[in-house]
Assembly symmetry: C2
Homo-oligomer: 149 residues x 2
DNA sequence: AGACATTGCGCAATGA
DNA sequence: GTCATTGCGCAATGTC
């Protein structure tokens, strides 16, 4: 479930080949400059360019390559899960909204039922009061102006 | 207006200096990292490394740099909004859950009320049935009504 | 001590 | 044409 097929990952030509660079094996090959990052700012600091964490070696190392690949996989997985989670959350919102509507409808219905019963009760009470008192003259005033609330 | 203060961006030490790399320095001719991408795979193509979309020029162009910078800003903005949206969605879930609880509590209360009223009704009905059983003589024998004889 | 997971960032392709 | 989105790799960092 977590990993469909990482075999494809290695292939992974997303679109147009873009930066395909292969350091292959032999020959250090140092073409292509990588101007990445900013050209330093004016007022900022002036970090000595001759500073690199990686002493040139390490990068060609097989182990480095392997670590990178593993990390790339991990990153991909993590991002996938992140997206999935987002979608799940969105769906949850929809479900909750639906349930909310259902509950509100139910409340409406119960309220109505309650209102009817209360009215019946009131009517009964009036009838009883009126009937018991004057047995011969039941006043025909069944209903009154009573709001449900 | 697009760049509030790129001075900081350039410096941009979000955590700890990260990848500040400058290709314009002496020494270390070409050890930048470019091994990007994977070593091709089984069915994939074999992209000749000696092929670059960017004829070396273009990249040094001021316009290129400018475009990149602008895109970087756009990317940042987009990602920020994306995260914000995700958080909003999560919060919505919480709100909806709260409201759901509220509604359910209300339903419970209404149901209880309804139940009580119904029970009262049943009780009354039984009483009536017992008392009104004999339609001819429903009155419980008035004590002094006909005692004259 | 290693391995995996997260996160910020830049690049490039694509969408609108 | 510009900006917005998205997939990807890299590196730093966090967690176990």
């Amino acid at each position: 479930m977590s990993r469909p097929s990482q075999a494809n990952l290695t292939t992974h030509e997303h679109s147009g080949a873009s930066v395909i660079q292969n350091q292959a094996s032999s020959s250090a090959s140092c073409l292509q400059r990588v101007p990445k990052l900013l050209p330093s700012a004016g007022g900022g600091k002036a970090p000595p360019p001759s500073k690199m964490k990686k002493p040139s070696a390490e990068k060609d190392s097989d182990e480095y390559r392997q670590r990178r690949e593993r990390n790339n996989l991990a990153v991909k997985k993590s991002r996938m899960r992140s997206k999935q989670k987002a979608m799940d959350t969105q769906q949850r919102v929809n479900e909750l909204k639906e349930e909310n509507e259902r509950l509100e409808a139910k409340i409406k219905l119960l309220s109505k039922e309650l209102s009817v019963l209360k009215d019946l009760f009131l009517e009964h009470a009036h009838n009883l009061a009126d009937n018991v008192q004057p047995p011969a003259a039941p006043s025909p005033a069944p209903n009154a102006a009573n709001g449900g609330q």
